[in-house]
């Protein structure tokens, strides 16, 4: 969570600038047909563009909303007001809490406060009634197995603390590997940026962070038999909805993950549904099944927003500039050396 964020910092600042300049109107660049949304020239529903998650819904339902799946109209209005205020503060050049950034004291990660600019959304977040992204189970909580619950607590206690004895100790993101495919559509700096490009027989998703990439074939081919970090995705159209099933994940459960629930294992299976419910919205729904981590499958519903046509995603040279890894290990060795002389 250190150098990897700074790598794309300049790019994002620019992106935000582009978005401020751009007007809200999105020129149509796809072939519209009667019935349904835009189509590609070869007749598939068109999902192309740059998309990101712009809502502020917690994955798991916060305690304050226990027993409530939806906000009231009044709560929605109040939140929308705050977003608007923060947006105008941002335009006025204000900083910190005025624009919704966490203060140093509130930062969830010790020593990571300087990264708080990643929490700047650039434009008002969209307000939805959902109180959690997880819609099943109904309590809005990740149904961890008892073992996974323990592993999650252990990982949380280690986060930003260590020990960092070798390059295997930082999490997969800090190692510039990936944060996992599960949350690809809605996680990453400022909600994650994904470019969808379609070509006949394929949907490709480029995720800016870690330059993660999914090439999803639509030809009805069976799953292969090679296990990969990103598994083996097979897609199909069900009417206007792109359905993607992914299996054959590699086993990396012994690595540290920023979020335990995104780790791949041979028993992980994802079913995703992408439905363009409006010109600028994909209703994204993901069902996650993995007996190695979860007591039962769980499902999240995530609204994803289309960004203006001229939005770009930029090269993410994480590993190429991973000075943090060397510095982290050098720091741990210096600490170890300091602790040692007493024994002499």
């Amino acid at each position: 969570m250190k150098a990897r964020y700074l790598a794309a910092g300049a790019a994002l600042v620019l992106l935000v600038a582009v978005m401020v300049v751009a007007t809200g109107s999105l020129p149509s660049r796809t072939v519209a047909t009667n019935g349904g949304g835009p189509r590609t020239p070869w007749g598939d529903p068109d999902l192309q563009g740059v998309w990101r998650y712009e809502a502020a819904i917690a994955l798991e339902r916060p305690a304050e909303f226990k027993g409530r799946e939806f906000l009231t109209d009044e709560e929605v209005a109040a939140r929308a007001r705050v977003e608007e205020e923060q947006a105008s503060s941002r335009l006025a050049g204000l900083e910190g809490a005025a624009v919704g950034r966490r203060s140093v004291a509130e930062s969830p990660i010790r020593g990571n406060e300087y990264n708080s600019f990643w929490q700047d959304h650039g434009r008002p977040r969209k307000i939805y009634k959902q109180t959690s992204l997880i819609v099943d189970p109904r309590d809005g909580q990740i149904p961890f197995t008892p073992e996974a619950e323990k592993a999650d607590a252990r990982a949380a206690a280690r986060y930003g603390v260590g020990p960092f004895e070798s390059y295997l100790d930082p999490d997969t993101g800090e190692r510039c590997l990936t944060d996992g495919v599960t949350a690809l559509m809605w996680q990453g700096p400022n909600g994650g940026h994904n470019r969808i490009v379609q070509s006949p027989g394929f949907v490709t998703i480029l995720h800016e962070e870690y330059r993660d990439r999914r090439i999803i074939p639509l030809e009805g081919r069976p799953h292969g038999n090679i296990r990969q970090w990103f598994g083996d995705a097979v897609g199909r159209w069900e009417g206007e909805t792109l359905v993607v099933e992914t299996t054959n994940f590699i086993d990396r459960t012994n690595y540290e993950w920023a979020n335990l629930w995104t780790r791949p294992s041979p028993t992980l299976r994802l079913v995703e549904r992408f439905t363009r419910s409006g010109a600028d919205v994909i209703d994204y729904r993901i069902t996650v099944e993995d007996p190695a981590t979860f007591a039962r499958p769980w499902t999240a519903e995530i609204p994803i927003s289309r960004l203006p046509d001229d939005t770009q995603i930029y090269e993410y040279a994480c590993h190429e500039g991973n000075y943090a890894m060397a510095n982290l290990l050098a720091g741990a060795r210096a600490d170890a050396a300091k602790a040692k002389p007493a024994a002499k």
Binding site: T40, P41, G43, Y167, L206, I226, W229, Q312, Y314
Partner: protein, 306 residues
């Protein structure tokens, strides 16, 4: 010169008959007139598919005789000691790669550079030589860094062209790197990059990609051929048959070369049914090399580092 002579001798000695794949191909213009490529729904030549180069350019884009290893130490001199009166006629594999034997050797290959040689400025020719002598420490491929352009095209890994409506993606297997070729209007790149900033247009049936905004970190091959951040590449992708693309790249870098120069090679369609681009997520493969010695413990040995 002496080394060249030695290498030629070696090629004969070990019978590595540098299979002359050769560049005896008709010119693109005459071929493209002859071949009418299939078209996409919007009428453009269809470049979709999984492609791969089949040559030795990633070892060295210039002509090269076979040699025993990618990293060499100079042939030891005749010592005069009884039993060591005969010097080896070839350079020997450097210690870190010695145990690979024939697996670690370099196959001979023709130059893919038009006219044969890269027109380096004198200082740059010296730097290239130095790079090749420090290949193990300097080649970005060894560290799983993004390979840059044009090198990504002729690495020994397939890549997939995914032809969208306003963007064309080139998805390389090596290091999971993807280029977005913008067919629509885009601004300039906000910063320098490893894989360049690619703007495409159609010139007849040829996809022409103008690539700039490079950093100075990538190489052209394992022989130390290099460029500066002033690199500008213009690529041309032309269908010449159902299963072949002709690839040409004009390389311009006034800080390093005396004039622009060109490379050219065919690319071959991977015909296996259901062929996919698989993961070659090599960051994980090089962590031991790059960071093993830095930790409190080296995972390779399980022991504390000295």
């Amino acid at each position: 010169m002496r080394r060249g002579a030695r290498n030629a001798l070696l090629a004969v000695a070990i019978g590595a008959v540098g299979v002359a794949v050769g560049m005896h191909m008709p010119s693109v213009s005459s071929q493209s007139q002859a071949y009418q490529p299939p078209r996409t729904a919007d009428g453009k030549p269809d470049l979709n598919g999984i492609w791969q180069a089949l040559n030795t350019a990633n070892y060295d884009i210039e002509a090269h005789a076979a040699r025993p290893a990618m990293a060499l130490i100079p042939a030891p001199a005749r010592s005069g000691i009884p039993g060591l009166t005969r010097a080896t006629p070839v350079d020997l594999p450097a210690e870190p790669v010695r145990s690979l034997g024939a697996v670690g050797g370099v196959p001979a290959g023709e130059s893919v550079v038009e006219g044969g040689e890269i027109p380096y400025q004198p200082w740059a020719a010296a730097r290239k030589k130095e790079n090749s002598e420090h290949w193990l420490e300097r080649d970005p491929e060894i560290k799983c860094f993004m390979p840059g352009v044009p090198r990504a095209t002729y690495m020994p890994y397939p890549f997939q062209i995914l032809q969208g409506t306003s963007k064309i993606l080139i998805a390389y297997e090596f290091a999971g790197t993807t280029r977005t070729i913008h067919l629509d209007e885009v601004g300039d790149s906000p910063s320098e990059t490893w894989m360049g900033w690619s703007r495409g247009r159609w010139d007849g049936d040829t996809l022409v990609v103008d690539v700039n905004s490079f950093n100075d970190q990538t190489w052209f091959d394992r022989a130390g051929n290099f460029h500066s951040e002033a690199l500008h590449v213009v690529e041309r992708y032309t269908r010449i048959s159902p299963d072949h693309l002709m690839y040409e790249a004009t390389i311009e870098d006034p800080k390093v070369f005396t004039r622009p120069w060109k490379i050219r090679m065919p690319l071959y369609r991977r015909l296996e049914e259901g062929k996919r681009i698989l993961e070659y997520k090599c960051v994980e493969f090089v962590e031991q090399l790059m960071y093993g010695h830095l930790g409190v413990i080296d995972p390779a040995t399980g022991r504390p580092n000295p």
